[in-house]
């Protein structure tokens, strides 16, 4: 019984959040909710790298593109099963992060940010110019009609894709929640704040960072693969350098290093984009001002500001309140 209560304490926040997202289907347009879900998965890796490991990455579109193009190549040239396409997208992200990771994670955080941006630019021009013969350049790959119907959840149908997105997002959140409580998660926080100490405990900072990098960017590739299947189209625009800062903006907007930050940030960002762009032409200008305001207000982001207020509101006393301050602190 006690184990069940503990499990419930562990899970209730995530379940409630996704229940609310599911409920939003009743009064929000489907494309908006799906975009929020995919964007939040996209941001999760960036938030983990920044909040847990201390790496800021302006090259997340590179890994998004790896996933999207992996899926797109399969669905355009080879097959029609969207699940296989998504799996290939994930493996593409795993391969790219596995190849560049051993080089990138040796760098200091500022150089890490720039080298990732450089990778995004390289992939952008590869897809746009160098490999235009197979990527169709700026026209992109269109494969919506190639996607075959699948039993149970037919990803070709928007409602089914929505359910699939919620399930995937829930699984990703559960996984990151688990990571937060794992010894590996504690090592990530440790390497962020005191790599010397971790080294002198006998741990490999390099190994911890590399694994974190691969996990985070494979998650980003998953988001890319989902975008590809949802839109039935992929173009170099997905890895445009102009969009390089998006996941970082959403991470900071939502609350860096918090578990719900990416979801809250994605809702706020996509919402503002949709609402404000109807009112103001240059909606990015508003986002820029908002970001400056949030940073000046204490860098906590929306969730970081809301969390203490919500905790007071619900005033649920946990069995071991301060334990939550530690490795499993992200909420």
């Amino acid at each position: 019984m006690a184990a069940m209560v503990n499990a419930w304490r562990w899970w209730w926040g995530i379940l409630l959040a996704f229940f609310l997202v599911g409920l939003s289907r009743l009064f929000l347009p489907l494309p908006f909710i799906i975009e929020v879900l995919i964007f939040s998965i996209y941001t999760m890796g960036c938030s983990f790298l920044l909040g847990r490991v201390g790496f800021i990455s302006f090259g997340q579109p590179a890994y998004l593109a790896a996933g999207a193009y992996g899926t797109a190549f399969y669905l355009f040239y080879f097959g029609s099963n969207p699940y296989v396409g998504i799996l290939i997208g994930i493996l593409s992200g795993l391969a790219v992060s596995g190849i560049v990771g051993p080089l990138f994670v040796r760098l200091r955080s500022d150089y890490f940010a720039l080298v990732n941006l450089a990778l995004a630019v390289i992939i952008y021009y590869l897809m746009q110019k160098v490999l235009a013969g197979i990527t169709k350049g700026d026209n992109g790959l269109w494969f919506l009609t190639n996607i075959a119907s699948t039993p149970v959840l037919d990803l070709g149908k928007p409602d089914h894709f929505f359910i699939f997105s919620i399930l995937v997002a829930l699984a990703i959140w559960a996984f990151y929640k688990y990571l937060d409580d794992s010894v590996f998660g504690a090592c990530c926080l440790a390497t962020k704040i005191n790599e010397d100490k971790l080294k002198f405990l006998g741990y490999s900072n390099y190994g911890v960072r590399l694994l974190a990098f691969v996990i985070a960017n494979t998650t980003t590739a998953l988001a890319g693969a989902m975008y590809a299947v949802y839109l039935g189209f992929v173009s170099p625009e997905i890895t445009s350098p102009a969009r390089a800062a998006d996941p970082v903006v959403v991470t900071i907007l939502g609350g860096t290093g918090t578990l719900f930050g990416p979801l809250v940030g994605a809702i706020a960002y996509t919402g503002m984009k949709d609402v404000i762009s109807k009112l103001i032409g240059n909606w990015e200008l508003f986002i820029g001002f908002l970001l400056v305001f949030i940073m000046l207000a204490g860098e906590k982001g929306i969730w970081g500001t809301l969390q203490p207020w919500l905790e007071r509101l619900f005033s649920r006393k946990k069995a071991s309140p301060a334990a939550g301050e530690g490795a499993g602190a992200r909420q």
Binding site: D181, G185, C187, A190, N194, L201, V208
Partner: protein
């Protein structure tokens, strides 16, 4: 005769024109409790850093149980059985006290491959007997779930030493472990370390000799990067060079005063 566990031969380290450690030959025997003292800038901490692998030496060699470890990484030295603390308290401030100990416990007593790190939760190890006992020994139970950044300096220092002790290394190397502690806290730490005398090799770098004089079996005095005395407490302190450089007592003047008297 116990075996030599750490040995340095002609170890030298320069920072630009400054020779921080100058051709130091040093040895530490198994289960010996030794201290290194010296005034500020004597090269104690640099020597400590060389032995633990924080810096590579410019010249000379470092041996651990007869094995040349001069070019080994700190992780490799930890795996061989060395654990150290830092002069400035070094803990993981963004983790809870208990999770700082879990990280040490996991590395020292479990298989700490990346896969195992990924498959194990901190929660599962927080109540391990050794961790609970360490918390009690160092009087840290009341702050076990508190983030380290919210601890006092004394509590942090106790935690760092607790982490080093929990690792159960063959050689425990403590860099000014008593700095900034209240007398009551110093007493606790010396009691804990005292219980390990004869069972573990301990090397302490300490600025204040009064704290460790009853505790160490052998003392080494450093001055301007060199070892100027090595031996028992009384032997070292009666050494004229130690009196001149460490205590700043002019032995010739003192002698002439005695003669005049």
């Amino acid at each position: 005769m116990s075996t030599e566990i750490i040995k340095t031969v002609g170890v030298t380290k320069c920072f630009g024109a400054l020779v921080a450690v100058d051709r130091v030959d040093y040895s530490l025997r198994e289960n010996e409790v030794a201290g290194i003292i010296g005034s500020n800038g004597a090269g104690k901490t640099t020597f400590f850093n060389l032995v633990t692998g924080y810096y590579p030496p410019d010249e000379g060699s470092i041996f651990y149980k007869g094995r040349d470890v001069t070019r080994m990484t700190p992780q490799q030295r930890v795996a061989l059985g060395m654990t150290r603390t830092f002069q400035l308290t070094s803990t993981f401030d963004n983790l809870a006290v208990i999770d700082n100990l879990v990280l040490v416990y996991f590395r020292a007593h479990r298989d700490s491959t990346l896969l195992k790190l990924l498959l194990s939760t901190c929660r599962r190890h927080r109540n391990e007997d050794k961790i609970v006992a360490t918390l009690e020994t160092f009087d840290l139970q009341h702050v076990r779930d508190r983030l380290v950044k919210n601890l006092s300096l004394g509590e942090k220092r106790r935690l760092e030493i607790a982490m080093a002790v929990l690792a159960e290394p063959q050689v425990l190397m403590l860099d000014e472990p008593l700095a900034g502690l209240a007398e009551s806290e110093i007493k606790v730490i010396l009691e804990v370390l005292g219980r390990r005398v004869g069972k573990q090799t301990i090397l302490i770098v300490e600025h204040k000799i009064s704290h460790v004089k009853d505790f160490v079996q052998r003392l080494t005095v450093m001055h301007e990067g060199r070892v100027i005395a090595d031996g028992g407490y009384e032997e070292c302190l009666s050494d004229p060079e130690v009196r001149r450089s460490y205590w700043q007592i002019d032995t010739e003047q003192e002698g002439s005063k005695h003669a005049a008297a």
